[in-house]
Structure formats: C-alpha cells, structure tokens
C-alpha cells in the first residue's frame, strides 16, 4: 500500500480502515479467519450477544430471494459468559479491532451485558442491536420506539466508557429521528441499516418459506434503500454513520462513504466471498490513488447535489 491514509474515526473509535464485517456474518471470527486475513480489516462486529445463550429459531432459517436473502436466525448465540471464556482468547490472536454487538429483551439486560463486557480490554466498542426483526420480545419493538432507543442509549452509555454505536432499523418512517435521539442521549455513532422485514411463500404448499414467517432481507437488493437511509441521516444529523446494506464490492463501499458513511460493514457478501473485506480495502486504496484522494476521510459525505 502507498501513502494513502485509510484510517477513520467513528467518534472516539479509531479504525485503521473503514471496512468492518457486520454482526451475524462472521460468527466470532474463528471460521472465517481460515479464509481471509482479518488483521487487514478495520475490524469485526461479533454475532449479537445476549446475557444467556439463545438456541435460535427452528429451520428453515434462510431463503434466497432476487439479489438477496431472507434470514430469521433468531439471535442464536453462546451468551456473554461463554463468549468471554471461550471466544475472547481466540479473538485476541486475530489482531483486529473488536466491536461487540449486544441484543437484549429488556433495557436491564442491555445494561447488564454492557457492564460485564466492559471489563474486557480487547473490546473497542459496543454496537447495540435495537433492531433485530426476528425475535418476538425486544428487537424490532425497541427499534420502532423513539423513547426506547433514547433510554437504551442513555443507560448503556452510562454503563461503559467505551464508544456506543446504535444499530438502527430501516423499518421506521424517519430513520433520522432515531439518529437524533441517539445523538441527544450521548451515543457515539449509528450503524444503518439492519435488515428490512420481508417474507416469501411457496406457491404449491402456500406456506411461508421460513419458519418464522417473516425474516430480514439483506444483500444487494437492499442497497438503494440503505444508501437513502444513510443519506437521510447524513443530511439531517451530525453523528458518525456506519453504512450497511448490500455492499458487495469496493465500488459499493465508496458509494456508501460518499453518501455519508464514515465506515462501512459487509454482511451477506461474507457468505459468498469470505475474502471480500480484504479485496474491498485494496479496492478503496486503489480508488483513492486513482482519484488523488490522500485521506479516505475526505470522501465522507462528499456528495454533490
């Protein structure tokens, strides 16, 4: 790599480059580390952690759709305690920035998880999932409620000295109102967007293709929606944005940065090309060289309208 500065600051969180792997699309880093070099990325966001382990939803959990996929995994995870005991030691070897995603069904549970994990030096920041569409309690209901998002931000912020990123739901009328509340309550950044609620039916059996009936739509199908949401936040609220939604290659990543993202997360693409993150970092670097951008941060919200 040449002298291009790819580092970005997501509020207090410093990343060596803007490319992160999204929660739920890299496990806890172990399997995917056999197929790519995670140390070359800006960082990884863990699978959502809850206070107690969750076994997740019954099959079918996923179905492919046009340029996308629906999933209803149901926040299957090992729980905070096993994470600390069994996953952190391996994550230490990876030499990448670690962001822990937390999902909970009550404000108290968010706070409890945050407190326990704050003791782990390896964790650089928390991403708070207030927008999982696939579990009955909590999840999306929080993400749809301005007061709830505000209270969660406030309480979690008070429970830790680490940066707090709130992961926003696109399934709301004005996403920028939620970003505003996050900013007011002291949140350091927002990530946008979580998946869009969708469904699919088998026309012969007339049954839904996933057991949970609805799931979260991800992949290139949602990219224009995600870009519009990032752009809406960027134009209205002064808060760092981590852009997510259907990014498949470096061109998509650049587009999200131009639309207002300080950093980006890769999700569905990791399932198809586990090395996409490294390729995208290289692609962003080459783009900066070609267009004489010395610092990637100069490109953030550089849209010309």
């Amino acid at each position: 790599m040449t002298g291009i500065d790819l580092s970005v600051n997501v509020g207090k969180l410093k990343l060596k480059n803007p490319v992160l792997l999204a929660s739920g699309t890299n496990g806890y880093g172990n399997e995917i580390s056999n197929l790519t070099d995670l140390s070359k990325l800006g960082g990884i966001v863990t699978k959502s952690l809850s206070l107690k382990p969750r076994k997740g939803n019954p099959p079918q959990r996923i179905v492919e759709t046009s340029s996308g996929m629906l999933n209803a995994i149901g926040l299957a995870n090992v729980g905070v305690e096993s994470f600390v005991k069994e996953k952190i030691p391996f994550l230490k070897e990876l030499n990448t920035t670690l962001i822990c995603n937390i999902a909970a069904s009550s404000i108290e549970e968010y706070v409890e998880c945050t407190k326990i994990l704050t003791a782990e030096e390896l964790i650089s920041a928390f991403e708070i999932n207030v927008s999982c569409p696939n579990v009955k309690e909590g999840g999306l209901e929080f993400g749809n409620d301005l007061n709830a998002v505000g209270r969660i931000t406030e309480k979690v912020k008070a429970a830790t000295n680490k940066p707090i990123i709130i992961k926003l739901s696109p399934n709301v009328s004005r996403i920028s109102d939620f970003a505003k509340v996050v900013k007011q309550e002291g949140g350091d950044a927002v990530s946008a967007i979580n998946t869009l609620v969708g469904t699919a039916f088998n026309i012969w059996t007339k049954k839904p293709k996933i057991k949970n009936v609805t799931g979260g739509l991800s992949g290139p199908a949602i990219k224009p929606v995600a870009l519009a949401k990032v752009f809406e936040i960027s134009r209205n609220i002064q808060i760092p944005i981590i852009g997510i939604g259907g990014i498949m290659n470096w061109q998509d990543a650049i587009e999200f940065i131009i639309a207002g993202s300080t950093a980006i997360q890769l999700g569905t693409v990791n399932f198809i090309n586990p090395n996409a993150g490294v390729e995208i970092v290289e692609g962003i670097n080459a783009f900066c060289e070609k267009t004489s951008v010395g610092k990637i941060s100069d490109l953030i919200a550089s849209y010309q309208i």
């Binding site: 496990g27 399997e31 995994i73 299957a76 399932f271």
Partner: protein
C-alpha cells in the same frame, strides 16, 4: 477448506435430469473425506446470489466430480456450463462419513440424487469390506447407477426393480445380512431418512446419514442450517457439525 477457482474438465448428462461435472483440482494432495461437500458459485454475478452446496461425488487423479439434478435456476445454469469455464469453489466443507468401525459389509442406501456422495465413499472403503448398494428412484429414467457396486434398485412406480421405496426394499433383504456385521451409509430425501432412522434405532444398527438443508455460507458463520439434536436442547449446524450424523444423534 479454501476458496479456489477451478476449470471445468468435463460435463455429461447421466440420465434425463442428472449431470456429472468434473473439475481439475489445483492441489493433488488435497485431503477429502467422502461425504464432505463444496459450496459452489454457479455464476459470477448476483444471480443467483448464494453458493450451492454439492456433495463430492468422486475425487480421482486430482479431478473433483460432482453429480447433480437440475432442481432450480442454479443447477440449470450449472448444467449449461462449458468445458474450460471456471467455477468458484469453497471447500472441502463439513465432516464426512466415518469409514472406520466394526463391520464387514458397508450398506449404501440412497434415494434419488442422494447417491451423489457414494462413488467416492466406495473408492475409499478399505478393501476388506464388502459393499452393497440400495438405490431408490422415482422411476426407471431417474435411476443413476454411476459409481455404485452390487446394486438393488427400487422405483416408486415399479418401472425398474422393486416396486416401492428403497427403505422397504432394504428391509425386505435384511435377512441376507444376518450373519454379517453391517454399517449403513445413507443419503436421500428427509422422509426416506426418517423411515430408515426409525428402523436402525429399533434394530440397533450402526448407521450414518448425510442430511441436507438450505444454507448460505457453508462453513458455520451464517447459522442458517440448524438441525435439532436428538438429546438435550439446541441445534447442530448441518454445514459444520454435519452434513453426516450418526442416525441417533439428530431429530429429522
């Protein structure tokens, strides 16, 4: 497990809807266990978006073979590939069959395209073991005997061999094996595996089944392919903990 681009070396139609594709592996020293699979990208764009999992049908002279039925758009595209085109493969994935154990006769029970993993299993089976294959299909035109040994056939419509399903056929022949130590290797539609599972558990027969499930990544990160454990609470993953399980380990 690694990601690699391999060239198509041959592609042939075995039966009306069944194809065999071979690819030249770039590593002849690759260690592959029968029953493992590769997750294959059949296009270089977003349609179809996800990879498709295929059992390794055979691995010989650094050529990888996959047998598949045309089932949807992805497999249709795969069937239309030409020699020399490249495919993006991720694998080998999953655990594979356990060829060890106290048995003298390996019994293969396959339903339809469930026969795919067995040519390689037969090739890797120790020479002192007998192999007998039970193969079930919808009708005569769907019977694919490729790479199998000592085959008994059943068809749903009776157009070839035993009229009925392959588990019934196997049960009707069970007395032939009373003086043998048998181990069953099975792959096929879930209803077939359920009926076999019930029989082998009742009769305490050593049996491994290869299961299938829709999956995205194929290596454990998407958590999209759960299968229920038979004891205790929770799920295993078909892609990582399987696709092969002891018949008594999972609820189908």
């Amino acid at each position: 497990m690694k990601q690699s681009k391999l060239k198509i070396d041959s592609i042939e139609k075995l039966e009306s809807n069944t194809f065999l594709i071979s690819l030249k592996s770039n590593q002849s020293n690759e260690v592959i266990t029968p029953g493992q699979f590769y997750n294959i990208k059949v296009s270089d764009n977003d349609f179809p978006l996800l990879r498709r999992p295929f059992s390794i049908c055979d691995f010989i002279n650094d050529r990888l073979y996959f047998m598949f039925d045309i089932h949807g758009e992805g497999t249709k595209m795969l069937s239309q590939k030409r020699i020399g085109e490249e495919l993006d493969l991720l694998g080998p994935l999953g655990n594979g069959f356990d060829l060890s154990g106290d048995f003298d006769t390996a019994i293969i029970i396959a339903g339809g395209i469930g026969a795919a993993p067995f040519p390689y299993l037969i090739r890797k089976m120790p020479e002192n073991k007998n192999v007998v294959s039970f193969l079930g299909a919808k009708s005569k035109s769907a019977v694919v005997k490729y790479g199998l040994k000592k085959i008994f056939i059943s068809t749903d419509d009776g157009s070839e061999g035993f009229h009925g399903n392959v588990v019934h056929l196997f049960k009707s022949k069970i007395l032939d094996f009373v003086d043998k130590k048998i181990k069953i290797y099975a792959c096929g539609p879930t209803p077939m595996l359920i009926s076999l599972q019930e029989f082998v558990i009742q009769n305490k027969i050593d049996c491994q089944i290869s299961t299938e499930c829709s999956m995205a990544c194929g290596f454990g990160i998407c958590q999209g392919c759960p299968i229920e454990k038979s004891s205790g609470d929770g799920y295993l993953l078909v892609c990582k903990d399987g696709p092969v399980f002891n018949a008594n380990a999972v609820k189908l």
